[in-house]
Amino acid sequence: MKRTALHEEHVAAGARLVPFGGFEMPVQYAGILKEHDAVRHRAGLFDLSHMGQFWLTGDRVAEWSDTLTINAVATMKPMQARYNIFCNDAGGAHDDTIFYRLGDRWLLVVNAANAEKMWDYLTASAPSSGVALENQHGRRALIAIQGPRSVEMLQPHVDVELSPMRYYFCAEGRVNGIPAVIARTGYTGEDGFELFLDGERAAEVWRTLLHDCGPQGLEPCGLGARDVLRLEAGMPLYGHELTEEITPVQAGLTWALKLNKPEFVGKSALAAQRERDDYARIVGLVMGGRTPAREGYPVLQDGRVVGEIRSGSIAPSVGNKNIATSLVQPEAAAVGTGLAVEIRGTLHEASVAPLPFYKRAQ
């Protein structure tokens, strides 16, 4: 089991560590609900160093990337970040990622569990396309600060102006004097920043931020809180709402599908699927009762199985209701449709709700 550069910080803080994506990662510190509350109302600090970081260089990065992804890469402005999905020929998701266009290179952030698969996939075609790849997985660290007070907490520690930075843009600067890519991105549904920096200096930044911003309510947060936050915010998690079998069209991510791009892997399959409109799709569910819906539970309509739960959790930001995502047949997908979730042999009421479940006040 691999450890991140912040492993000792987690142990010292009494975090509960679990295996995730090949790393020993903190699932919680003080408690998932308390950490969730910190992110929604103040700010939370996350170690996301398990995620894969690849550097891409060369004049043809955008052109090459556009042949492998569903969203547009070439139209990205300098210092812009963009969500993107690599698909297989059938349109299933190979991975969902974020591209960051930096000054002299690109940063591609991939899911931890897919990092090896993606590295093999990219290195198969990059060299012949004139793109140089550098694998920083496990060497570079990623610290995220997320929550409505992120700007005021982080600003004294960085040498770039945070307020003018737009959502999904980034800057190359310093955090506590340490070189970092500072990006206004995240996976919680709140304002916040992600800091990409050298693993060897990451612990200093982690400690300083917690020490200096602790009095303002900054709390270390684990992957447990992160999963509740992203689910409330309607963001897909690879392996749940997106897989090699579940396409971005099925996951409702057509906003990221640029069919006006020239040929790319999966394009014809995705275009045809979208056209047919007959596919099982990801919907949001709100449970009527207090019993949580969990991954794999059957979803029924009028006594007939029409799908299954893909993610589920109690949702403090959605009236403390139990929410879930489900992959259901198209006839069961309209908002307001009454469905049932089978939990330990008993049917529990649920209804299809619009995604996201939670949207922050602007």
């Binding site: 509960r16 699932v27 919680q28 408690g31 998932i32 609900l33 308390k34 447990g224 509740v228 207090r290 019993t291 949580p292 969990r294 959790s313 109690i314 330990r344």
Partner: protein
């Protein structure tokens, strides 16, 4: 933390407070801490008869579903209805307001198979 002295414990981290032929049952502080934030408790129906160590319900935290076992045999005479709206009471006061159920014991001598506080303490150390 030290275990309350007036209780007996199972290896599955339940506690039992004996009162003649009746018992109150809950989960230990160690168990609630290991589970994390508890969001749902499913208990047997009043009147149900349960056998020692049988699976009688579930306790769900944010992340996980865990089975609940009964440390003794008996008939359920009361369940803690307050947990329906406030399952977090099990986290806050596992030995108090977070009790789970009361039963009339059908075999009180089973208490001999349970652990005294000092014995339980040995298995409930992180």
């Amino acid at each position: 933390m030290a275990q309350p002295e007036d209780l007996l414990f199972s290896k599955e981290h339940e506690w039992v407070r004996l009162d003649g032929n009746s018992a109150t049952i809950g989960i230990t502080d160690y168990a609630q801490n290991a589970l994390g934030d508890i969001v749902y408790v499913e208990l047997p129906k009043v009147g149900a008869t349960v056998a020692q160590f049988a699976n009688i319900g579930v306790i769900e935290s944010v992340k996980a579903v865990s089975d609940l076992f009964t440390p003794m045999s008996g008939e359920i005479v009361e369940v803690n209805a307050a947990l329906e709206s406030d399952p977090a009471a099990v986290n806050r006061e596992p030995y108090g307001a977070g009790w789970l159920l009361k039963m009339r014991l059908t075999n009180p001598t089973e208490s001999k198979t349970l652990l005294p506080p000092a014995e339980y303490e040995k298995i409930a150390t992180d």
